[in-house]
Subunit: 311 residues, 4 copies
């Protein structure tokens, strides 16, 4: 029995590369290329796929807003894993085509923002055609709909294109984080180095955002990302996306989420899963999160409740 | 003596409409169409324009990230005014061209995200060509480079196009906020209903964001917007953009900015100016002790732990 | 089987009056008069009494520091109930003794501070002899060791004294709160209107007190009393006594205690028990942004700086 | 022209010792012994003395509550200096009187609490006579009104008594802090190591105390003492006494006081004066209090207000 995994296709995207990294250990897998993060998550929601792999955050351009929006389109999906890939692009044309003749350049809009400097220096006057994915841009070049694409090196192989330059990235350290989403379910077990993601809306009142974030900060739960997106439902209301260090089975994080729920008009839990790697930010974790001391503190409260403090 | 005002051109964009609203009272004005927010602000920085008008936030799609980035490219510009416009689009082709024959659709990417639903229903299979502005998309249609554009109604007049539908917007209440930027200088006088905008970077340590936001909250200074953008300079460092209710001549806001400066590794002041209109906000006390709601919250956490949230 | 209850004796003290109110429903009771709160609690610790009744707080003079200190002398005792009594004094002498001849006045030091005004007006030149209790002062008068006592009316009966004035109290609304202490055990069940008391020591660092109190405030747990007492063990270290509104079985209070435990170098749980009566409290929003009040505040600071506050 | 300085007399008290330390540099001085802190401050309020010296805090027993209360009896006095003295007692009788025959022991109540252990071990059954001062107790012994006194060694000389033991203190490190009070006026200049003292009342609402303390903590202003005393005016209202590290000319402290004023129903400023010595608590002062950085931050805000940021 093979598991179907939806991803931003066609074959040759970075998302496909992330897919093969994320499904290690899931047994046999059938990739299902789709045209957007929204379609990938809907494939899971509708049972056409068991998993979806989507890009969630880019170190150059920030949150992938189409993915952020896709997670809120409907309930039913949850994140279970992540991987981070270094991102750089190859510049490719049909074989024998000279860059000097290129008038139509294509890539995904997020990729576009990551190669702007290179474009300004090398192809300043080309027209930009937005593609649904980087590999789709390569395919468009192969089909003659565009002249030049910025795409993963592997896409050149897949679509028989000629590579003029590779390792192209305005920022050498560019990385993209991809997540593995499945149907809502039990989170992966706590590993001690996990990430939790939630989205919430707040009453449109002064101080509510700081109040909500304080629930995390005060308990020593660190925030690694915050994004706000208009709800599209009501003016001046936002969905706040936050990534937290910790697992919903960590007591302080669970309490913070509960308190957040009390403050929020709506909270969506996107999952708790192992972090790809601890970013070594030099941040010392709060003593408030130390599981051993927390257990002692819980014991102390329990003893006070049950009259066992005195001996 | 006429003042030159750079804006996202060509004529016919919503930005041009905003321009005419914002320059009322500035005397004679010469519009200078440019291709991006970055170019508009650079025209001011380099003295080729006295003012620039740029879109800063959209009620459907959030911050206009290219504008956010443009403000940080270099110092020397500051915001002095704002206006908000309702946004809807006309669908236009060359005269006599049938929508049924359209294969190439063009508009600005932000506009694209605001008419997605209409496109899916009416032109599901067209290719999307990203334009530098909505009016540029209309121009591309006039020049035969695209078949159909979503653009302001006025652009059809300007480029001699035929309108097939108007008032198109996935969200009827869509609005965009535009600001008037000029060279760094003395802010407009405090009116009692002002907005202040700053961008800051924080030491990469746990709790610094809440600490910084607390400087505002604790002094009763309300935040109406927060965005984080990777700095592109260093991994895991962000520029935080915040819009505040109040003027730098309001004592609590000035003190909050001063304390922010002490906490931040970098602060950029984008200006204090009169708000286009007051959004109504009201403060509601906390319900953190309500046993019934607490029980509900506990249930919610338990459900998240046990995978029972989805039904 | 009668329960022994230690209290500040001899018979005739307010503490004895409180005792009879607090032991209602405890069955047969044998009062055990002792000379101090410390002795009363030690009688429980050593098993010579099942209960102790001690004065804990006075509405005129604040915490009864000897009681505060007594609770920390050793572990093994816990509070299970409370009562509040209105406090006023009778002025008594041996029968036939004229007030005009009195040279030696006796009462308990706390009582002394509550009848100071009356003394200044009526017996300005008497010598003050500190008594271990008000009833002990009456006894001293009966025994000729003092001439006049301020004590509960009932003490005059018990010791055969003549009352010259009654209802004496510098502050008409004076009240004292007494608690019923027993061996450490399971707290009384949560009633929904309870009090919890803890004592804690904090690391001697800037901000630790606010941090600890914040654990309560942030969770909506109200503080009705805070006292600091030097530890007598180490310079500049204090025991902080706080009374909280709520029961250790209230979730926010339990969490606050657990977090306090994590922050504190030492926490002593003194019990959770039903409040004698609810004090009315209401939460009012902040007026921190009112320009008129801000101007007044600025004036006040300036006046303090320039020595103009005094007029 | 000699300055009159009121103090807790008679000669021979620790307060007199503090007086001579505090008036160094004030020129010729005439000590005026009085019977209580209240009388000392009233002598200043009524112009009968230029200065008063009163004990304010004891490292063993905490705040001297009679002094706390005295400062609030009326306006018109302010603190201008402080000194700290190590405290231990001599045990003295009339010459030739044997301790074994002593039945009446006298000292000041605060001193009483500091020699309790010694008393329990050496004179367990003596009657305690409260004295208005330790030297007054020595005087009472000299006059035959008491048998034995605990008082400063110097009092034995002054009253011709025999010393049976000296250096008596339950806690070897006991110290008392005394302050020099004068008529309300300009505080002594900021030295960089100052203390500020205020007393405030808060609206009787949940969270107001933490809110008020937070004004200090958030600005990096450290609290070294907090006491609460019932107001004697209204039930459940308290005067909170706080000692702060810093001077009212320190910007953060001044702002905190202003914000406190906004929150409080009443604030009394007791003065800013040089600390006797920095207690080395190992507490690192907050960067928020660094005068150089604060000046930079103030400059930045001013530049933003005056349009001078751009160059």
């Amino acid at each position: 029995m093979s598991a179907t995994v939806a991803y931003l296709g066609p074959a040759g995207t970075f998302t496909e590369e992330a897919l093969w990294r994320l499904v290690e250990g899931l047994g046999e897998v059938t990739p299902l290329p789709v045209d957007s993060p929204s379609e990938a998550l809907n494939a899971v929601r509708e049972g056409r796929a068991q998993w979806a792999v989507v890009a969630i955050e880019n170190s150059v351009d920030g949150a992938v807003t189409s993915t952020s929006d896709a997670f809120l389109e409907a309930p039913g999906v949850q994140i279970f894993g992540e991987v981070e890939l270094p991102i750089s692009f190859a510049i490719m044309t049909r074989p024998g085509f000279s860059l000097i003749d290129a008038t139509r350049f294509s890539t995904h809009p997020v990729a576009h923002r990551q190669v702007r400097r290179w474009l300004n220096q090398n192809l300043p006057s080309v027209e930009y055609l937005a593609a649904t994915s980087n590999a789709a841009a390569a395919q468009a070049v192969a089909e003659g709909k565009a002249d030049v694409a910025a795409a993963p090196l592997r896409a050149a192989d897949l679509f028989g294109l000629e590579v003029h330059a590779s390792g192209i990235a305005d920022l050498a350290t560019a990385r993209t984080r991809f997540v593995l989403a499945g149907p809502t379910g039990v989170p992966t077990p706590r590993t001690g180095d996990d990430r939790t993601s939630v989205v919430f809306q707040l009453p449109n009142e002064a101080g509510t955002l700081v109040g909500a974030l304080h629930e995390f900060a005060y308990r020593g739960v660190d925030l690694t990302r915050i994004e706000s997106r208009p709800t599209r439902e009501e003016a001046n209301t936002y969905n706040f996306y936050v990534d937290l260090v910790g697992h919903i089975d960590d007591i302080p994080l669970a309490e913070a989420l509960r308190s957040l729920w009390l403050r929020a008009s709506r909270v969506t839990f996107l999952g708790s899963w192992p972090r790809y790697r601890s970013e070594d930010t030099g941040v010392v974790p709060s003593a408030m999160m130390d599981p051993a001391r927390l257990a002692q503190a819980e014991d102390w409260v329990r003893a006070a409740r049950t009259g066992e403090l005195g001996d």
